[in-house]
């Protein structure tokens, strides 16, 4: 469960409570999420993700898992969220995880040499149909599938991650993730506690 926690919680850290769909409010420019506050924390079991630095819409999140602790950068606005993981922190090259106003089927692609990461918006709930025990309620989710290219090198080794399913909410961030590895095994990563998005949804 902890094995893919770091990315899941990173994305959770860059979601705002004040997100609005672009189509609902065309007069308001995207703003920085209230979740981008130093100290905002998400947990999954004994692992955690904490916003440790904020600069405008950019955040640095300290991720602690299995005894390891690393920092990952990302950005978020009320229009959607992205990360700088694949660009190694280069803020001129954000990689979109989701834009709230995009239609189902939208694909976001990131090229690294001849490898390509693809994120696909699979579905967008119209009713509160996904239960999150950490929140004690049903919420809507936007579900994104991330296909990791075979042979991609991460941390000096070829990654064994094949696919990641992200279950996202505009207020709480990533509330669930499922990781499928190249050997066919799967890991489920639920959100077990958070101080993010407290209050109404």
């Amino acid at each position: 469960m902890k094995k893919f926690f770091i990315l899941m919680l990173l994305i959770a850290a860059i979601i705002g409570t004040s997100c609005k769909k672009k189509s609902d409010d065309t007069s308001t420019a995207p703003t920085v999420s209230l979740l981008a506050t130093v100290g905002t924390t998400w947990s999954s079991g004994t692992n955690s993700l904490t916003v440790s630095q904020v600069s405008g819409s950019d955040v640095i999140v300290t991720c602690t898992y299995g005894g390891n602790s690393i920092a990952v950068s990302g950005s978020m606005t009320t229009a959607g969220f992205a990360d700088y993981f694949y660009s190694s922190g280069d803020k001129t090259k954000p990689y979109t995880l989701v834009n709230f106003s995009d239609p189902v089927g939208t694909q976001y692609k990131f090229n690294i040499g001849s490898s390509q990461v693809v994120r696909t918006l699979l579905s967008s709930s119209t009713t509160d149909d996904f239960y999150v025990s950490a929140l004690g309620m049903y919420i809507k989710t936007m579900d994104v599938k991330e296909d990791v290219p075979q042979g991609l090198t991460v941390n000096g080794k070829v990654t064994k991650t094949k696919t990641i399913y992200w279950y996202l909410n505009h207020k709480f961030g990533v509330v669930y993730a499922r990781v499928i590895y190249t050997d066919g095994t799967e890991t489920d990563i639920p959100l077990t506690s958070t101080n993010a998005g407290a209050g109404s949804k």
């Binding site: 630095q53 602790s69 690393i70 660009s87 001849s114 941390n155 590895y181 190249t182």
Partner: protein, 331 residues
């Protein structure tokens, strides 16, 4: 015409003939042959190396789940490919138990000492010493080894010696110096980073040499302009790489920072902002340019070699190791 006048006429001609041996494009047939020779040399080297006793011993050690060593093959899924390793917890004297098929700890020691029979030659005995192993966390990844000292003995003869040292500064890898000596094989690698988070940009440079007892197999130098992204990490902006592999040479210049990874015209952007050339050093011939292009009938991009006549071949169909280098993600 006197002899002196004849010499004065001929000598400049001879000089220019031999001095101006500039690179020239090879025709496709010559280029393909050059690649076949290079591929053959690499395969021969890989096959010969895999048969060396030290290689067989290390492969065995790193493939056993009961091995107390770091970097062993990890069959469990882990996006960051990193499990926390504690040298202190693993110290001890281990022996291969043929009944259980595992390494069994016999007693505590100040290092890791492993005794095991040489795979494929049970009468030969191996002793592996890991004298030191120390990791240090960096900001953007779980950890990097900063001190490794190890030796392998087969039948009490030193077959392998590894010395690796690294420095971390501002939570980023700053200096690396690694030396691997085997009985007939030597690999060295160096890396140094210039600049720090107080500056917008810096430089990462380094070199690598691989040689056996007969010849230099690989020598490479790289120089990469980087931009710092405090307080976490840095990204590549301009990559320069020169690599000699047997009698071939790869010259690589990539203006990486200007290439948008999310562009719909990514392949064109990559090719426009990069120059990757493969040369044959024996005849000063240019084998071809390496470019990104879609595979026939597919959306997927791959690296191709474009020959002097404009036709292309998939790089992985010609040279496997070059494809792995060009696809390597640096983080």
């Amino acid at each position: 015409m006197t002899n002196k006048q004849l010499y004065l006429l001929i000598l400049p001609l001879l000089f220019f003939t031999f001095a101006c041996k500039t690179d020239h494009p090879l025709d496709k047939k010559e280029a393909v042959n050059s690649l076949k020779i290079l591929n053959g040399d690499l395969i021969n080297f890989a096959v010969n190396t895999s048969q060396k006793p030290w290689y067989r011993a290390m492969k065995f050690l790193l493939n056993q789940s009961s091995s107390p060593l770091p970097f062993k093959n990890d069959t469990s899924g882990n996006f960051f490919n990193s499990l926390r390793y504690s040298f202190a917890d693993k110290k001890g004297f281990y022996v291969w138990d043929t009944v259980s098929g595992t390494f069994v700890k016999q007693k505590d020691t100040s290092m890791i000492l492993i005794y095991f029979p040489l795979p494929g030659k049970m009468e030969s005995y191996c002793k592996f010493f890991l004298y030191a192993y120390e990791m240090q966390d960096t900001r953007s990844r779980p950890g990097f080894p900063i001190d490794i000292r190890a030796k392998l003995f087969i039948d009490n003869h030193e077959e392998l010696s590894l010395n690796h040292h690294a420095l971390i500064a501002e939570n980023l890898l700053s200096v690396v110096s690694s030396d691997l000596h085997c009985s007939d094989f030597h690999l060295s690698f160096h890396m140094a980073r210039e600049g720090d988070f107080s500056q917008k940009s810096g430089l990462v440079k380094g070199d690598l040499q691989l040689r056996d007892d007969k010849q230099e197999i690989i020598s490479a130098e790289y120089n990469i302009d980087i931009d710092y992204h405090p307080p976490v990490t840095y990204s590549f902006q301009y990559i320069r790489l020169m690599m000699k592999v047997f009698e071939s040479k790869l010259e690589c210049n990539i203006n990486y920072g200007t290439i948008s990874p999310t562009s719909n015209e990514y392949a064109n952007e990559f090719n426009k902002n990069s120059g990757i050339l493969i040369k044959n050093l024996e005849n000063s011939g240019i084998i071809g340019n390496v470019v990104l292009a879609p595979e026939d009938g597919k959306d997927k991009l791959d690296f191709f070699i474009r020959y002097s006549d404009g036709t292309m071949s998939k790089l992985s169909d010609q040279i496997i190791i070059l494809k792995k280098i060009l696809n390597k993600k640096y983080s």
